[in-house]
Symmetry: C3
Subunit: 278 residues, 3 copies
Amino acid sequence: MESYKKVIDLLNVLREKNPLVHHITNYVTVNDCANITLAIGASPVMADDIKEVRDMVSLASSLVINIGTLNERTVESMIEAGKRANKLNIPVILDPVGAGATSYRTETAKRIMDEVKLAVIRGNISEIKTLYGINTQTKGVDASESFSSDINELKKEKHMAMNFAKELNTVVAITGAVDIITDGNTVYSVKNGHPIMSKVTGTGCMCTSLIGSYIGAGKDNITAALAGVVSMGIAGEIAYEKLAENHSGTGSLRINIIDAIYNLSEDDISRRSKIDED
Amino acid sequence: MESYKKVIDLLNVLREKNPLVHHITNYVTVNDCANITLAIGASPVMADDIKEVRDMVSLASSLVINIGTLNERTVESMIEAGKRANKLNIPVILDPVGAGATSYRTETAKRIMDEVKLAVIRGNISEIKTLYGINTQTKGVDASESFSSDINELKKEKHMAMNFAKELNTVVAITGAVDIITDGNTVYSVKNGHPIMSKVTGTGCMCTSLIGSYIGAGKDNITAALAGVVSMGIAGEIAYEKLAENHSGTGSLRINIIDAIYNLSEDDISRRSKIDED
Amino acid sequence: MESYKKVIDLLNVLREKNPLVHHITNYVTVNDCANITLAIGASPVMADDIKEVRDMVSLASSLVINIGTLNERTVESMIEAGKRANKLNIPVILDPVGAGATSYRTETAKRIMDEVKLAVIRGNISEIKTLYGINTQTKGVDASESFSSDINELKKEKHMAMNFAKELNTVVAITGAVDIITDGNTVYSVKNGHPIMSKVTGTGCMCTSLIGSYIGAGKDNITAALAGVVSMGIAGEIAYEKLAENHSGTGSLRINIIDAIYNLSEDDISRRSKIDED
């Protein structure tokens, strides 16, 4: 089956199943994460107290861990919820926001990787390189080493992602100018999206929430990661076109992204998706 | 006086008085709660540290307690602020977000009900049933057992709400396809709103903030609860109509709701409100 | 050079340099602060755990401390980050949200002023009076004693701001109907903005984030404060004009403000800025 058709199928399952996605996430983009989860057709729940995360995750179809504004209290909750999810066979998605920027972030992300079995890790190239053990420089949490469109560089990065996915027995999704999604065997490259998306905070976090929504629907981890990345990219394109048409700006772009996800159609996916499979 | 006229009168008082509404609330929808409080004509203040909640609530006209992202630290602040408000005769509104989903939420909501005298409790049907002691299943914090439009079911639920209100000597507001607002004697049913509102996070929280705004203006608890519920329902209808006209989505819906509350007119209320009094 | 030209020059440097602005801020308006920082051309990073704030601030070009939802944990992080920034010669901007409302806020703001060398303090007139030691009454954190447009009152307030700036060897920015920006020698008055801006939460916080963005670009503290205040005022005007044209409301206003900052042009600044220098 062609890749974009798998995305369409999973979107239909998602909208039918309306999976509950438990998030332990940051307070910067949490509202956007909740609203994009609702827009795609899933249900979000945000709960981070150690006293309830085990109970909450057991009701959920997936768990999203996002370390964007981590602190000592919530890190313990992330680990607890993650372990519980593992026991119950509920897939866990990690967004290692800002790994590489501070040693606390890097170490926390690595600790989560050690203690929790992850279904998907989604990050930008510097975050993923950091976790894989390549020294890199992260400039804060929103900015990132720009993803090279140079063919050789891209090849190297695919190679790294595949090795990382194999070692951890997980799916690795790197988002940038070209997105890479791999489980160590299959590798997808996606060329959807628009550079202006980096001018809105949370497009990465929202992408992770979409992956959490798709994985909660089907549990085919690589298709879920692909679907989340492609959906976000297409929504960004539609949102930018509306911005350009209305001469608006990045405040509107953020709203347009949620609107585009809410209205995401089979036709949008089949006409717009730019997926290559190696 | 007809019910909708009471709502109009209270809206006018609110806009004249500009009451300060102290919120101890969740970090998911807090920005929307603040902006809708401003939009209706009140002033929000969000403060949750135990060191200042007593001082802050004493400046306020009402206190909104929302347990959406409760934690050990903020629960103590909720109780402290609530007790202080009781002493000063400042009305307290509880939004028991997700009660029933985890025992921590259920117990915390019940603890607040035990230790703080509440002017209004606003929740969906599963949250209210949970607090009343009927076993129910909550799917996360945003979703809820859908409110039956079956006449017999609705009758039973009104009965439950009245008993609950009498027992606690409070106003109970249950929001859903049909909203029920009762102080144990009078019962209002409201049929405003649109199903799409459940596709935006925080419409429940915002409704509670509106009740807090109205109650800060007048302190007639049942009219304030009615006014909050009706205002939110009407805003949802107007917001949906604009969405449909512009072929936008739920990102825009959220903005449209705040816009509609800002522009809420006597005419909107008299033409649109669908209130039945038993 | 005329004042507005300095603002234009600094905006151009900012967009070229893309400075990283570390925020320790409140959870009510944090998303808007991040998005406006991106919209003006800087990069935001929000991090508040004591274990990482020293590392994070050392990567940044400026530090914004906003006490809007302060708590015991984050106050310690603010102090630690501030001290570290001082050591590294990274400018620190304080937004003393709600100082005067509770003694905890007043004391915390004063403690920060004592322990951290501040490049700029931006607040409304009651917050600044409180910090300067004049008893005043603050109604919550968003509302404020309205800024007198009375000439004599304005003179007194300029005098107070100058003394305060001299004593603390900092830049003081007071925002209101007329904004005052002073380093104790130069005093700018700015008459941009629109009263409706007070009907959206976070316009003050966003202004502070803009100052943090400008100061990260150039480190000329008074020009950065002026540029932040003027940019916010102009964005408010443009946003209001769009609201009026579309008959929308304050939900849209908030989006329009971010859009206007994203599109802020040399022409907007030269045509619209209303800056007087004493």
